[in-house]
Symmetry: C2
Subunit: 418 residues, 2 copies
């Protein structure tokens, strides 16, 4: 067997909240002006009450609302796939499984949180959402989700992506969103996620009918993504892997897809957890663990996380997404406590891995996914070297059909490593 | 239930050959010079013996070789999906099912025949394949298949697509193919499928190590695509639709995806079969049923089919694929005998349908698929008008992630109807 389908009636009906199970308690976010812990009232201009409650929830399981499940079931449960062709090409005794999140409307894992975020906002009477997008995955996902719940959506897109990825703009427009290049006040600036967040937050804070939605980093975002790992747990049983995985891996930008696949294994100390990040934006491997702003302008609360500094802008040559200066506080806490490992790769090595995956498994990875595939291949080759059976599980977070300009650069020698 | 997965061990292990079950016998292809029926020797410079045998096979079932199944299982069986969100939006009593072929490596149904074609060629010692591609779906599929069987591949790409769809070129190059714009001898010409076929056939005919591969039209191509309809039959049982569909629909360019979904129902006279084609290339609805060349230069055998003339070039404004001047002899015979209906749509109506599908079902259709979705929506609205339950089955032949320039034109009013 190659692909393992979880029956539709076994879709998880609750998300897993890891915060009570973290090895170190999470430090609270701080108000940007007072540097005191933020309360629900501070967040109310940007987020609906349900998401604010999830952000600080202490219970381990949070029910998924029925209308959210109804939309998620358009593509979930997603398949768990045994990468037999890749295993054969590597000659490894490792058994490699991946969760295929590329079949969602947006082609990535991002709709897993876009859908509940749109739902909770609509349920509390919000009419319009703003957000930022870098590579475009998140804006695409939120655009789709807003369509399903009748919300207007405005996307501030990092200008470098806006210019280089017109197809990303078009797909967001197809789902009815308004898309503008960010920073809006400096047409000569290539932009960054931090700047785009500032634009989107400023817009939402200035209008009563509008909230803001974030695609990664925050606790409620990682919470929603745990449906990936929860499904994978049940599917590994179907695959006969009742001992579970030895290593769980994900690429890491803000941390949401990594959290989604990895958090359900945090309490199982026999499972190694691995974050793969780009060498040109090496937050976990070279950043500092400290309070920093989520955005560049310093409008968001201060978050306890690994950070390269909120004014960090990754090199323009970097094609592989994962460009955020910080990381999710939950992911940062796991790395800080030694529960999760982190590795960084130059982009040439990640595209090499992505092409090997496309040539064997037949799926074209998003450049972000190339990072985790690099890590998986290295783990599988290490297992071969040691003659060890090893069960590897990773999240195939998205396809690369909208990222072919980066492949073009790679294939024709125009990619350089920072 | 929304999605119906056929267990992997129930993947069809034989293709269905419709030719003995056609209402009128197929007329043979004729030699372009002598106008006598072509024999196997005439085709040997272009095709391997196994495919030539399949082209004229009389038995109903032909085994799928194990190495072909091993590759098809990377993504097959594909899901059968109940389009509940679309049904709700239309308020129709019709039950709409679609076979989702968009999850293949190339994002379309085309690899279903690319894989066996590459296999049979490799098995007979061929080292290199040439082909043409228009919208890019077929060239992408063959590039992937050649990688799996160690063949070199050269793709002659219709120049208009080559210029407008650089991402299509890149994905073929990612899978190792050489891609050139066609016609190769006239850089000012926008090209056509017929011209690109001429280029590819000329290349293959001139080299001993090289064969040619065609992505549609021929009997063996439709044969390989029947795996779609065979899976769908089993999946409709899983869905509780043991009476089968009332209508089976597919879009039609050369006829391979339509044949794939529809041929297994030819002998069931209670099932209506419907072809949806573009009004700007209306082969079945406005063409003549006669012998014509498959290519523009007149190098291929003459085929008995509906045709707009082998020198037909569709208007450059047409964005929706399906630009071939002729149609598969099998499809043509079914239409000619009255067993299959055909409808033609202007492209604006097909993009309107595609956007409605994206907004409800969350999948972005290829422009080709927009044609069949238009037909399905019209059937579902007719069922609503009549207050009739009606089971509709169609083939979602591919996603539109590589066709967003056409959506951009549609959304911004730049598409006109011929």
């Amino acid at each position: 067997m190659t692909r393992f389908h979880l029956p539709e009636d076994q879709i998880p009906t609750a998300w897993y909240n890891v915060t009570p199970d973290l090895p170190e308690p999470l430090q609270p976010p701080l108000h940007p002006a007072t540097r005191e812990p933020v309360g629900p009232d501070d967040l109310a201009p940007l987020f609906p009450g349900a998401l604010i409650a999830q952000e600080v929830a202490a219970e381990r399981w949070i029910d998924i609302p029925g209308p959210v499940l109804d939309v998620l079931r358009l593509w979930r449960p997603t398949p768990l796939v045994r990468a037999r062709a890749l295993e054969e090409a590597l000659g490894t005794p490792a058994r490699i499984y991946y969760k295929d999140e590329s079949g969602s409307p947006a082609g990535s894992h991002k709709p897993n949180t876009a859908v509940p975020q749109a739902y909770y906002n609509a349920a509390e009477g919000v009419r319009r959402l703003t957000t930022e997008t870098g590579a475009g995955q998140w804006g695409t996902a939120l655009s789709f989700a807003c369509t399903r719940f009748g919300l207007d959506c405005k996307v501030y897109m990092v200008r470098a992506s806006y210019d280089q990825k017109p197809y990303r703009r078009v797909i967001m427009e197809t789902w009815g969103s308004e898309v503008v290049a960010s920073p809006i006040d400096d047409p000569g600036h290539p932009g960054s996620l931090g700047l785009a967040i500032s634009d989107a937050v400023r817009d939402a804070a200035g209008r009563d009918d509008t909230h803001y939605a974030l695609g990664s980093v925050l606790n409620h975002v990682l919470l929603h993504q745990t449906i990936i790992g929860l499904e994978a747990k049940a599917q590994l049983e179907l695959a006969g892997e009742s001992d579970g995985p030895d290593v769980v891996l994900g690429c890491c930008g803000g941390g949401s897809n990594l959290g989604g696949i990895a958090l359900p294994w945090v309490t199982d100390s026999s499972v190694r957890l691995v974050a793969a990040e780009p060498a040109s934006c090496p937050t976990l491997t070279a950043g500092r663990f400290e309070y920093d702003f989520g955005d560049t302008a310093g409008m968001t609360p201060l978050l306890p996380m690994y950070t390269l500094g909120h004014d960090f802008v990754p090199p323009a040559i970097h094609a592989g997404g994962l460009r955020y200066h910080g990381d999710a506080p939950i992911i940062s806490a796991l790395v800080h406590a030694g529960r999760m490992e982190a590795v960084a790769y130059p982009q040439g090595k990640t595209f090499e891995a992505a092409v090997q995956f496309a040539n064997t498994e037949g799926k074209l990875p998003a450049p972000e996914a190339g990072h985790v595939i690099r890590a998986v291949i290295d783990e599988a080759l290490a297992a071969k070297e040691l003659g060890e059976e090893r069960v590897l599980l990773f999240n195939f977070c998205g396809h690369g059909f909208l990222d072919l300009a980066a492949y073009d650069d790679y294939l024709h020698g125009r990619l350089v490593d920072a």
